[in-house]
Symmetry: C2
Subunit: 189 residues, 2 copies
């Protein structure tokens, strides 16, 4: 077992650039990373504690006045763990597309139901694509900063796939509309 928790690598990756608090880490994850990975406080804080015990990171009290603040710094062991992970070519990509599931089983209902589900998906992708493009344009202007190239490539992966999604949506809607569905004609529930 021991299905190595990947949030650790997100944290190590972020800390390899700068020292951060748990709260900061959450904000970073909610940025460009959120398009391919999520994190929650209930996820991040326990990971931080574990990783400190494993000496992958160090904590420093940076409280200001009465406001508690713990800043984490990556250790040599932490950097080594990050390197090991990056050099391991295995990558577990897991996707759970409930939209596709609903599409796949859409034949159980009138085609209007599926058409609507596609439209909802389309609207969401359009919204997120806008945000991604904003990130992309900002990054493009700063490619000389080395890490920005990597961020830019990740963002452009998102842009390219989202654009492919939108093209598929248009095509799928056209196909469905032109299809004389028995269920639709007979009004079967």
């Amino acid at each position: 077992m021991a299905r190595e928790r990947k949030i650790d690598m997100v944290i190590l990756g972020l800390l390899s650039h700068e020292d951060l608090t748990g709260y900061d880490i959450k904000k970073r994850i909610d940025g460009a990373i959120s398009f391919f990975w999520k994190g929650s406080f209930g996820n991040i804080y326990p990971a931080l504690k574990d990783m400190e015990n494993q000496k992958l990171i160090e904590k420093h009290d940076t409280s200001v006045g009465g406001r508690e603040r713990i800043t984490y710094h990556i250790t040599g062991d932490g950097k080594a763990a990050l390197t090991k992970w990056l050099k391991d070519e295995h990558a577990g990509n897991e996707l759970r597309y409930e939209t596709l599931l609903k599409l796949f089983f859409g034949g159980a209902e009138k085609k209007e139901v599926t058409l609507h589900n596609i439209e909802v998906f389309e609207a969401e992708i359009r919204r997120e694509l806008k945000i991604l493009k904003t990130y992309g344009e900002n990054l493009k202007q700063r490619l000389e900063v080395e890490d920005h190239l990597y961020y830019y490539l990740a963002v452009s992966f998102g842009i390219d796939t989202y654009e492919a999604y939108l093209k598929w949506c248009a095509k799928a809607k056209r196909t469905l509309k032109g299809y004389g569905s028995k269920s639709a004609e007979q009004g079967i529930l």
Copy 2:
């Protein structure tokens, strides 16, 4: 809480077409569905038991000789649950792209590491795309069967996005190769 287990909907969707055993369900999931949803026996059998208690499905002993066999059939309540789910426009699409994570943090290593990771991803996508195209061609020839249209649309979503991935891979490799990375030049580990 109660984060409604979605494997239930996969099972209900499959059973809305035909009666199946747990083993059959696993095989179906490992087919075209596996590109956007996974299932395991440790996941399916307990769900089947729960759903039978909830009267969403009925079990029938279809053992042959000494070989145990339990075939499940969807009930009216089960169909209603499937309908309710399909008509609910909310869809939780979760993706965890470790490949993208490695790309995003690739700046911590020499660019060759990232290049290699992209190539591994590319090879995998190419392999899966081939399989998807086989599904797609088979389905295309049977679009008159209504549900095949839905399967076909789901498969073509996979094909379209995988093709976008491959285009991105080519572009990303070109960009990276043309980039005089400091880490690469200095051989920083």
